[in-house]
């Protein structure tokens, strides 16, 4: 992998106050228009994207039509919705009738969805302009966006570093300012870890809060869609638009989604903040430890009660995840057979149906996807099902119970999102080390609880200044509490380190 000639390390790190919420207001106030904002972003994409590889496809035609219609409706005094004036990008595993939906895989290189994902429809109905499809680890399997079939995505904070994954393109695009916000999917940390690596906010709500209709399935008991944004209030606003029951997704919760920040941030003096000992080990980069310690001290100084928490199943979470997720993936990805849609291997004389399936899948999937399908098939096969798959589902309940008992002692759990800042492209080739990136994030998916990553300040590493993320978790369906606390933590980080707070 060669270093691109264009230097985007000078990409202006955004001003955290200049977020989607502020920009939507400036369009409403008539200071600018959606179309002007879109055009300036399309120009910036032309300059920056060849180096970053954040976008696979720019939906300029449909975005221009949408932006123009939003501006016309605003001029006529109509209200096109809370996201009118905003520009939002979509991870390329979210189905859109505009453009392609490739999952960054050869398997779906030419796939055009005949329907829009529910989240896409809801964004459009709320007035958002959808600018493009972002690169990702193939079928969302990875923590670095290096398994993308269209080449690795790069981190705006260090061009030779990964943006994290699997929603790396979405995080890189938000970080580089070539979209206001983006959607990603999170199966084991796939929006939170890239947001931490790129200095953004990413919010994964409770399992079932946001419809997955039109999200290309990976691990169906783990997958959740969530926003990557510049601020907690942006993430909250997008969540409010996306959340709620959907007849097309039978797993969506019928609990009402309340406006999360209606009452503003939480007063820290009323808070019990739990710090899991297992998230504060020496596997953390010293800069991660220092920034975490700083926010703990700020919270303590503001009157919060700091509680030590034990989560002894932290490391078992990765094992549980790497049984459940591949098992579900091997089942979900069995649909790619080269028959009804997607890639089909060139026919060979005398070849039967089974050979065609196998060659199509072997040629269409990359190495990591094949690895996980094999692992999933193995743990589900006769003789191993009980030892691996069933046992993982039992450990999942133990992990859930561990969270339940932790939340008896505290209102929120606080730790780092990832043990280290963004690593170099090509640095982690061994699958196990790659999987360990997700050690602090997977258990939220396993238990289905909401979690958010907020920028926690910068870390010096080999002469580069890199962002790190703070990870907050609350009990299921307590999104309002989580977002209010996240908002408090966000302002504390900004006050302590105004330059580094946003990325």
């Amino acid at each position: 992998m060669t270093t691109p000639s264009t230097d985007v390390t000078s990409t202006p790190c955004f001003d955290p106050g200049d977020d989607l919420t502020a920009r939507v207001q400036s369009v409403r106030d008539g200071d600018t228009t959606t179309s002007l904002r879109l055009e300036s972003m399309l120009t910036a994409i032309d300059t920056v994207n060849p180096s970053l590889n954040a976008y696979h496809e720019i939906l300029s035609d449909s975005a221009r039509v949408t932006a123009n219609s939003i501006d016309t409706r605003l001029a006529a005094g109509e209200d096109p919705g809370p996201l009118a004036g905003s520009v939002i990008a979509l991870k390329d595993n979210l189905c859109t009738t505009e453009g392609y939906t490739t999952c960054s895989s050869r398997m779906l290189e030419n796939y055009r969805s005949p329907f829009d994902a529910t989240v896409v429809t809801r964004l459009l109905n709320a007035g958002a302009t959808l600018i493009g499809k972002t690169n990702m680890d193939e079928f969302a399997m990875g923590s670095s966006s290096e398994t993308c079939a269209w080449g690795p995505v790069r981190n705006p904070h260090g061009i030779n570093r990964v943006p994290g994954g699997s929603s790396g393109g979405s995080a890189a695009a938000v970080s580089a300012g070539i979209t206001d916000a983006a959607l990603g999917s999170d199966t084991g940390g796939s929006i939170r870890q890239p947001a931490a690596f790129c200095g953004c906010v990413a919010f994964k709500p409770t399992y079932g809060r946001i419809s997955r209709y039109g999200l290309v399935a990976f691990g169906s008991s783990l997958d959740q869609i969530g926003p990557i944004a510049r601020s907690v209030r942006d993430a909250a606003m997008i969540y409010e638009v996306l959340g709620g029951i959907d007849p097309h997704d039978a797993t969506t919760s019928d609990l009402a989604v309340e406006p999360p920040l209606a009452d503003g941030p939480i007063d820290p003096s009323s808070l019990r903040v739990g710090i899991p000992r297992e998230h504060c080990t020496d596997r953390n980069h010293p800069g991660v430890t220092a920034n975490l310690q700083r926010i703990i001290e700020s919270l303590r100084a503001a009157g919060a009660t700091i509680v030590d928490i034990d989560l002894p199943l932290t490391d078992h979470g990765i094992s549980t995840y790497y049984v459940i997720a591949p098992a579900e993936a091997s089942s979900n990805l069995s649909r790619y057979d080269g028959i009804r849609y997607g890639y089909r291997a060139d026919p060979r004389p005398g070849e039967g149906l089974e050979e065609l399936y196998a060659r199509t899948r072997t040629e269409g999937f990359g190495p990591e996807v094949r690895r996980r399908i094999m692992l999933g098939t193995y743990v589900l096969s006769a003789g191993y099902y009980d030892a691996y798959y069933k046992r993982s589902l039992q450990v999942r309940r133990l992990i859930k119970q561990e969270f339940d008992s932790a939340f008896q002692k505290c209102d929120v759990l606080l730790g780092p999102t990832s043990p280290c800042p963004a690593f170099r492209i090509g640095a982690e080739l061994d699958p196990i080390s790659m999987y360990l990136n997700d050690v602090y994030t997977v258990n939220a998916n396993i238990a289905g609880i909401p979690a958010i990553s907020v920028p926690g300040g910068m870390i010096d590493e080999d002469g580069e200044s890199l962002p790190m993320g703070l990870h907050l978790q609350t009990p299921a369906y307590c999104e309002t509490t989580l977002l209010r606390i996240a908002s408090t933590v966000e302002s504390m980080v900004r006050q302590a380190d105004p330059i580094a707070a946003g990325a």
């Binding site: 028959i339 196998a358 692992l375 193995y378 039992q394």
Partner: protein, 106 residues
């Protein structure tokens, strides 16, 4: 820490079987490397065997959520031509596939 019977040692033959069940066509070198990967991952997840899960009910979905049931009523579906247009190969109103049955319908 792990009991001997829980220590996974998939043979090359086992891996070939898994590849076949996965509908993947791997040559010997690819099977060998898949075996190395599989061993490393199984070794890592061996810590699951150290936990006491006796009597713990498996939890297939987080929070024990269950699917909402819908009334069994017809709704709008995608048009046949839209679906056929996505298929890699079609013949008339059909998706074309290689011959499924051998000579004599065996």
């Amino acid at each position: 820490m792990t009991s001997s019977n829980s220590k996974p040692q998939p043979t090359l033959e086992d891996v070939a079987k898994v590849a076949s069940l996965s509908r993947l066509a791997l040559d010997d070198a690819a099977l060998d490397s898949a075996r190395v990967d599989l061993l490393a991952i199984l070794e890592h997840v061996a810590n699951l065997q150290t936990l006491d899960v006796e009597g713990v009910e498996p939890m297939p979905r987080p929070q024990d959520t269950v699917n909402r049931l819908a009334e069994d009523e017809p709704g709008p579906t995608l048009d046949r031509d839209v679906l056929l247009a996505m298929a890699p190969k079609t013949e008339g109103h059909f998706i074309a596939v290689p011959k499924v049955l051998g000579e004599g319908g065996a």
